[in-house]
């Protein structure tokens, strides 16, 4: 018998023991109806957006709440400009104004839910890096010095200040992972009170399991990368972004 069959057979044999102390014979699964929602957030979308802002601030992220897509577009550009200035100010060497500061590792602008972004970014001097294959050594090298990444989200959770980034197609995992700063665009239509609300909506739409499998990888992100391994001292930006800035905007207009 193979190792696999041995393992499965051994487990089945143990479960047949009538006097097995654990687990009890009657061990029902946790049903959808009884499973608890761990956290909660109340109110309409604006109240939830405010809660999101409060929660992401508690984990050292930052946030802006905007009323329209137009405002969001401007906010994205000005945030990236502020970051370039900060990068250049922090760099005290000769190449204080290196060109790479203007590089942005971006999801395809069509995926960001903000119209006209490509145009305005290019006009303001930014260079959008759009890799097609990050196992290609040249493209891989190209993203290394990039200091800013821009993505949207699959969903965001108000009660914890978390967001979900998916991967696949032209949406690079790297955009929310390798740069020092991550700008995340969250339209209100993707904002949920809790993680459980999102799961329930996906489940009832009939696609949760298919969605998870199709996504190959999703990451739930809650604030900037951090560690407390150095004797409990909180340090940010260990491997992932040190700066996480969320731009939430009302695309629903309640």
């Amino acid at each position: 018998m193979s190792t696999r069959d041995n393992i499965l057979a051994s487990l089945r044999e143990t479960l047949r023991q009538p006097d097995l102390p654990f687990p009890l014979l009657d061990s029902p699964p946790l049903t959808q109806a009884e499973r608890m929602t761990v956290t909660s957030a109340s109110g309409g979308l604006w109240a939830q957006a405010e809660r999101f802002a409060q929660e992401i601030a508690a984990v050292k992220g930052t946030c802006e709440l905007l009323e329209t897509e137009t405002e969001a577009r401007l906010a994205i550009v000005s945030r990236l400009q502020i970051w370039v200035e900060e990068e250049q100010a922090a760099r005290k060497t000769a190449d204080a104004e290196r060109a790479e500061d203007w590089d942005v590792l971006c999801w395809p602008p069509a995926q960001l839910h903000v119209e006209g972004l490509t145009h305005i970014l290019k006009e303001t001097g930014f260079k959008l890096i759009e890799p097609t294959d990050l196992h290609d050594p040249e493209q891989r090298e190209r993203i290394r010095p990039v200091r800013a990444g821009v993505t949207s989200v699959e969903a965001a959770f108000a009660s914890t200040g978390s967001f979900v980034v998916g991967a696949g197609g032209a949406n690079a995992r790297a955009a929310s992972l390798t740069p020092f700063r991550h700008l995340v665009v969250v339209p209100f239509s993707r904002l949920f009170a809790t993680a459980e609300d999102w799961l329930a909506e996906m489940r009832y739409a009939g696609g949760l399991d298919a969605y998870i499998r199709r996504s190959r990888n999703i990451s739930i992100v809650t604030g900037p990368s951090k560690s407390a391994d150095l004797e409990g001292n909180l340090t940010l930006g260990v491997h992932g972004p040190k700066v996480v800035h969320a731009i939430l905007f009302d695309d629903v207009q309640e």
Binding site: R4, I7, L11, R12, L15, P21, F22, L24, P28, P29, L30, Q32, E34, R35, M36, V38, T39, V59, L134, H135, R140, T160, A167, G168, A170, N171, A172, R173, A174, L177, A195, E196, R203, L208, D209, I212, R213, R214, S215, R216, N217, I218, S219, I220, V221, T222, P224, S225, S227, A228, D229, L230, E231, G232, N233, T235, G237, V238, H239, G240
Partner: protein, 475 residues
Amino acid sequence: MQVDIHAPYKDRIRQALGDPNLRVAVSKATDRMDNARNASMDEIEGERLRSQLRQMKQNVLRNWPDYLQELETNLRQNGCVVHWAEGIEDAQAIVKDIALQNSAKLVVKAKSMATEEIHLNHAMEEAGLRVVETDLGEYIIQLADEPPSHIVAPVIHKRMEEIAEVFQEKLDMPVTRDPTKMTSLARARLRKEFFAADIGISGCNFAIAETGTICIVTNEGNGRMVSSMPRVYVAVMGIEKLVPTVEDAFLQLQALCRSATGQQFTVYCSMTSGPRRKGDVDGPEQVHVVLLDNGRTRMFARGYGEALMCIRCGACLNACPVYQEIGGHAYGSTYNGPIGAVITPALAPEITQFKELPHATSLCGACREACPVKIDLPRLLLDLRSDLVQQGASPTTEALGIKSYSALMSSRRMYESLGKLASIGSNVYAGMSGGNIKFMPPPLNGWTAYRDFAPFARKSFRDWWKERSKKRQRA
């Protein structure tokens, strides 16, 4: 002084207790994490969360082989390669083989207890690969050539100045104790490794049976790095780390984060359901999942299934007054603290191989109160002690002592005369040293080394009762 994990049990504990840095670092950190856990469980219906998690995990174990098969089928459908490993050598061989087939040279690893369990780094290095731990804490102890001393906080036993020394010695870091500078240095060094690595290896915090999804939880982002950047990703998972559905995964995730560090969510939870497809920008081209038994089926058959619900949050370590004093290395095993004292012997081929561990506890019950799955660790420790006695593994003095005790207790005459003798003897002896007994010969000196022993009553209860009745009759 450092704890030599290969030293005998009592020597390890003496070394740990003699290390002031260790005691400061461990008690400070465990206090911090224990308080954070309590606060974050109080914020929500913590008790309900624990009960529900227990129900879910118990159902997993009741239907364990079915969920495992469901997971296997779904992983395969998603394009993952599934391997089954019975023991340490199997598991090492599987991972080495993957490395060989991919002509790999450099491996980046995210923190994983399962790979500690199978001594994977050592095996890979012997096979000529370079292995780099990327969790900041793991990176430090890898540089210092030590094993982790805590399930979630591997370098909990070191203070800042000790960590700085390691960095200065191994990475030529300029003298500093600034945590921000040290973190930047590690980021820069490890970033090179992530971009160059051929293989990424992680454990698995939990796997979702219904979708065939491997979930890993980190705060630093190294879990996402190892599962995204290299061409090949290998997850080594203990076969018990299963959840039935996506919703169950989110329930366990939240219980895990709150219990481990008091967070609502960790910074990253990376959920991988398969390799990159054609047209995807990034992600691994191969995803291998190693399903590791290494004693789990044995432990289940032995009746220790309850401890297989463990989600490795470390809450029982943080709450344990013994762990708080001695830290992890003194246990001398991969898993330490209360859960380690249970699963180390229970997973081993013979429970007698770790016969001291079920005694490395005061049975105070703090671990049971802290556990998000409500595992009754004190009872399991007692079960282990009982099994050890059944297998004749108790020390000769203890066995002899119990034997003479039962002989003594079954004869009234012998009990009474010995009582009288003890009363006279102890009172004479105590009288010579000023009221209390200050010294007794071994093995009783274990008591008198730290405290006095009061002499026996001069008159036995029976004698006193007899006299009292006589007096009453006269009156």
